[in-house]
Amino acid sequence: MDLFAAESQNPLIPPVGEIVVGTITFAILAFVVIKFVFPIIEKTFQERRNAIEGGIERAEAAQAEAKAALEQYRAQLAEARTEAAQIRDAARAEGQQILEELRTQAQEESARIVARGEEQLAASRQQVVNELRGQIGSMAVTLAGRVVGESLEDDARRRGTVDRFLDELDAMSSSTQGDR
């Protein structure tokens, strides 16, 4: 196209050929972009949104889980505390009981010891009395023999005399025991 011929061109009146070419160019771009490019971008946006939402959901789930674990831990702790208190109370009560038992036992024991001591005392006394009775008899006879200067030869007589004497002693001692 000649430069001077171009001078007469009106820039606001485009040749039809240019319009057709322009339409085709734009149509090709629009087709590719609408068919392939923008759907991919939209899909990517959707995936990204899902990924972010999924992340938030996971975080929320983890938080809920942690909260549940904390609650459980707290409940267990409270339970353990109650249990410990119960055990302490029970131990205290048991201790008290043991103490009581021991005290009773000790009292019984002491009573028994006292009783046995008394028994022994009585037995010893009886023994002493019996021994003394024999000894006193022979001693008294010997003494009486010496005093009288005669030997009480007659065994039967002698026995009878001694026995009488002892009976009298017994009567005396029993009367004194009754006084006690």
């Binding site: 196209m1 430069l3 171009a6 001078e7 061109q9 820039p11 606001l12 009146i13 485009p14 040749p15 039809v16 050929g17 240019e18 319009i19 057709v20 070419v21 322009g22 339409t23 160019t25 734009f26 090709i28 771009l29 629009a30 590719v32 972009v33 609408i34 392939f36 490019v37 923008f38 991919i40 971008i41 899909k43 990517t44 946006f45 995936e47 990204r48 990924a51």
Partner: protein, 277 residues
Amino acid sequence: MTSSASALASVLAVESDSGGGFVAPSIAEFYPPSIAEFSIFGIDFVITRITIISFIATAAILLFMVLATRRPTIVPRKSQWLMEGGYSLVRDNIGRDVIGPRYKPFVPFLGALFFFILANNAMSIIPFFQISPMSKFALPLVLAIMVYVLYNVVSIKNKGLGGYLKEVAVPPGVPPVFLILVTPIELLQMFIIRPFTLAVRLFANLFAGHMLLVVFSLGTVYLLGKVGENFSFVFAPLSFLMALFMTFFEVLVIVLQAYVFTVLTATYLNGAVEKGH
């Protein structure tokens, strides 16, 4: 040889002639010599450098988008992140916020529009291309016609033809007397001015941007050839700085116009899906 290059040659030729002054770039900038010409069904097709640039821009952005979304990962790669950011801008900030709750079906079209315009606009400052296909009226017009058809079809679908025309022609809350004025203006606005301004806004921005860049670039070259005359040693660097500044300004225009075109489309669609204004 590109049109800018031929303009550059004419500047240099003038300089060597040392006769005439600076030859400003003309509208010929936008009518580079044809590479191939053919005719199908009586329609003449002229393939020029700008046509090829449009193909390259479209192919490049397509390739980038396809590669960026290939094998997407939950944690995005850099290119994937960039692509998703651009798509999110269109989907959430333009689609959802402007159209409203029924924005979903329009997002793909808005996205295609945004990335197509962005890539083609960007060619205006990319070295060795340095002219945007959008600075030819055909491409913005094509897009505006598509938007026009879309919002009218959606409106008729939602409100019925009668309901739609009534809503446009008789806006609620207008006293009947003023309808004589309001009705023609509203009809004109909805069916003629809207698509026209939509196309012209994009086209004119890129057209003017390219012209400014060429003027200051060629001016720099011209003034450098005249160093020593008429304070050219002062104005040549100034012209160069201006070209640099306009290039950065062009970056803003590239992004902003792609955004504005998409937002306006969304606004029209919002009017189409919502009952009443």
